[in-house]
């Protein structure tokens, strides 16, 4: 019993495509030469990546002193960037796993690139905890293994260690979820490709997939299980990241709102980044029939709801501080809005709460350039949110004699640019070598009807072939 699609619902794939068309359209960007636009983006990203790599090399060789940190502000760009990138990764898992559990069929056009985005974002995120250690070459000490230091074990009570396990698990599970989803598509590419390197690589990686329904049955089970595992994983990973701050004692950090606040913010920022990539991808790879206006519309509505939750969280924080009567907590919020770093705070509020309100208006949601501008602002705002939380809470805490200012050095800015470079380089390469849309999933969700007759045939022939409809065939059997 196949589920039928209501005729009132706009089609998932526009343009009256057949199954063969879907395969051809999605595989096309992998075969044709990269466009000038792709090269421009790739070279800029590569340049940023090389700049960041140089900055990181210099910083590891010379020391953390090359950053603008001081005793008061011990964490700034490093952890801001870490939380920023982990947050971006979470939207990919939301689209893949959570929307799968909700049976939202529209996710099939965006989930492949969203998951790829997650992988690259988590890779970028993982760089920062590594490089922010004083001795990154000893990073392996974070792993619990029997050793010659008396067998000194790691401190399982520390959120910083929970982070190690959470981020590693998140990276590995995202990778396996992405790969398992890719296997049928790799088989499709294998069967279409002529003998050569592409054929050999897809043959190996597709594990001999042949479309057997028995295998599909087990595969769908495992996919559902992975989605069911990835969903609590998303929530747990960003909760654990928030615990890095929440388990401390500093006003502005030590608050129980952080776990849901961080998760909502992560999903918000991640959706903005996915939408940015979607708008670019659909245009440059000519996938407008697959990543339709309806998809962008739904992403906008999700972002709007998440943005409202984030705004509510800001308000709650402020209210709790005011209501608590705790002078230190109240000071933190006064300082954020009115102190020397108020420019960062008001950037954050404008970009995260103010600008997304434009998404209430359908005319704005329908305009892709407007949506693109809004999501870029959201990304900027969410970076500033983490910056505000970390730096403004640190730079003026309990003891006024410890108060200090913070200014980033060129090394830190270059490292941030480098992380964007790594992310976009990886994503642009992904668009060239892998199908950017999940071919099998989008076919399964779109309920494409086979063409009754070729379009060039005259009306009488079409009437004759359409006279035997599937419904009539079914009644004949029973």
């Amino acid at each position: 019993m196949s589920d039928s699609q209501s005729p009132l619902r706009p089609p998932l794939i526009t343009g009256d495509k057949s199954l063969g068309d879907v395969t051809r359209d999605i595989c096309a960007p992998m075969h044709c030469k990269p466009t000038g636009l792709w090269w421009a983006g790739f070279l800029v990203s590569l340049a940023a990546l090389i700049l960041g790599f140089t900055a990181v090399w210099y910083q590891i060789a010379v020391g953390i002193g090359t950053w603008g940190l001081n005793k008061t502000v011990g964490w700034a760009f490093d952890i801001t960037n870490f939380v920023f990138w982990v947050g971006i990764g979470h939207a990919g898992t939301l689209i893949s796993a959570v929307l799968f559990l909700f049976r939202a069929k529209w996710r099939t056009a965006v989930n492949r690139s969203a998951e790829a985005m997650t992988l690259f974002a988590v890779m970028c995120a993982g760089i920062f905890p590594l490089i922010h250690m004083g001795r990154p070459w000893l990073a392996y000490w974070m792993a619990p293994y029997p050793n010659t230091r008396g067998s000194l074990w790691v401190n399982f009570k520390s959120p910083l260690l929970w982070d190690v396990f959470a981020i590693s698990t998140y990276l590995l599970i995202s990778a396996i979820f992405w790969y398992v989803g890719l296997i049928p598509d790799l088989a499709t590419i294998r069967d279409r490709s002529k003998p050569g390197l592409r054929n050999r690589i897809t043959s190996i990686l597709s594990l001999g997939w042949n479309g057997s329904a028995r295998t599909w049955h087990r595969y769908e089970t495992v996919y559902l299980l992975l989605a069911g595992l990835a969903t609590p994983l998303v929530f747990s990973v960003h909760t654990i990241v928030s615990m890095d701050f929440a388990t401390s004692v500093i006003p502005g950090w030590h608050t129980t709102i952080f776990p849901p606040y961080f998760v909502a913010g992560a999903i918000f920022s991640g959706l903005a980044m996915v939408t940015t990539l979607m708008i670019i991808a659909r245009k440059t790879m000519r996938l407008e029939d697959y990543i339709t206006h309806k998809h962008i519309e739904r992403m906008c509505l999700l972002m709007l709801s998440m943005g409202c939750i984030v705004g509510l969280a800001y308000g709650t924080e402020f209210f709790m501080a005011a209501y608590s009567g705790n002078a230190y907590e109240q000071f933190v919020f006064k300082n954020r809005a009115l102190g020397p770093m108020r420019w960062a705070y008001w950037t954050m509020v404008t970009c995260n709460v103010g600008i997304p309100q434009l998404l209430w208006f359908k005319s704005i949601r329908k305009s892709l350039p407007m949506v693109f501008v809004i999501v870029v602002f959201v990304n900027i705002g969410m970076w500033f949110e983490r910056f505000v939380i970390i730096v403004t809470s640190l730079h003026r805490d309990f003891l006024p004699s410890s108060w200090a200012h913070y200014t980033p050095t060129s090394i830190e800015i270059a490292t941030l640019a480098g992380s964007f470079g790594l992310f976009f380089t990886c994503f642009l390469l992904f668009c060239r070598i892998a199908p950017a849309i999940a071919i099998a999933e989008v076919k399964g969700a779109a309920h494409l009807k086979k063409h009754a007759a070729p379009k060039s045939v005259d009306a009488q022939q079409i009437a004759q072939t359409e006279s035997v409809s599937p419904e009539e065939s079914l009644t004949k059997v029973t």
Partner: protein, 178 residues
């Protein structure tokens, strides 16, 4: 032992579903079906039992969680307890995040490796497509002709009612039906 099989090719998933249901109702022995995507309801039409991989996932998850909890307890409370901020040696609440992550990791990887093992998927396996377009836009139903009461013309006619594109007979020598 040679085996004759019948391959019925369709270009629409609903036709395949209806044909599979009809074939099963007629008592035909379905070897397998090949589709470019997971057709909703096909497993029920073929009479496939629910997969036991869910149990593998659950057991691996439990092993991960309990194993990690044991490890955390041993390191922090038995092998070398270290006083960090006066916190108790064996604190179950603080053990939960890492144990949860280990559970998810083991459950995920366990299920996937079990899937590969059960479906015999491994790198370097030669593709065994019965029909080249089964990964593109064709749906194939494979029926076993082993039953002596198998009547080819009536089966062909039945498939014809479901807009079958092609009906082909093949002989398999106990191995593949390529």
């Amino acid at each position: 032992m040679t085996n004759r099989v019948l391959l019925a090719t369709f270009d629409d998933d609903e036709d395949l579903l209806a044909a599979t249901t009809a074939a099963r109702e007629q008592g035909l022995h379905i070897v397998d079906a090949f589709t470019p995507y997971a057709v909703h309801g096909l497993d029920r039409a073929m009479g496939l039992a629910q997969s036991r991989l869910t149990w593998v996932c659950f057991i691996c998850g439990m092993l991960g969680a309990l194993g990690m909890l044991w490890f955390e307890h041993e390191t922090a409370a038995v092998w070398w307890p270290i006083d960090v901020g006066g916190k108790p040696w064996d604190s179950l609440p603080s053990d939960v995040p890492v144990a949860f992550e280990a559970a998810v990791l083991l459950a995920g990887f366990g299920s996937v490796f079990a899937l590969f093992a059960v479906c015999r998927l491994f790198p370097g396996k030669k593709p065994t497509n019965v029909f080249p377009r089964t990964t593109d836009d064709r749906f194939v139903l494979v029926i076993d002709e082993a039953d002596s009461s198998f009547d080819l013309p009536s089966v062909r006619q039945m498939f014809g009612e479901f807009n079958v594109i092609d009906v082909e007979e093949r002989v398999s020598d106990g191995g593949s039906i390529l």
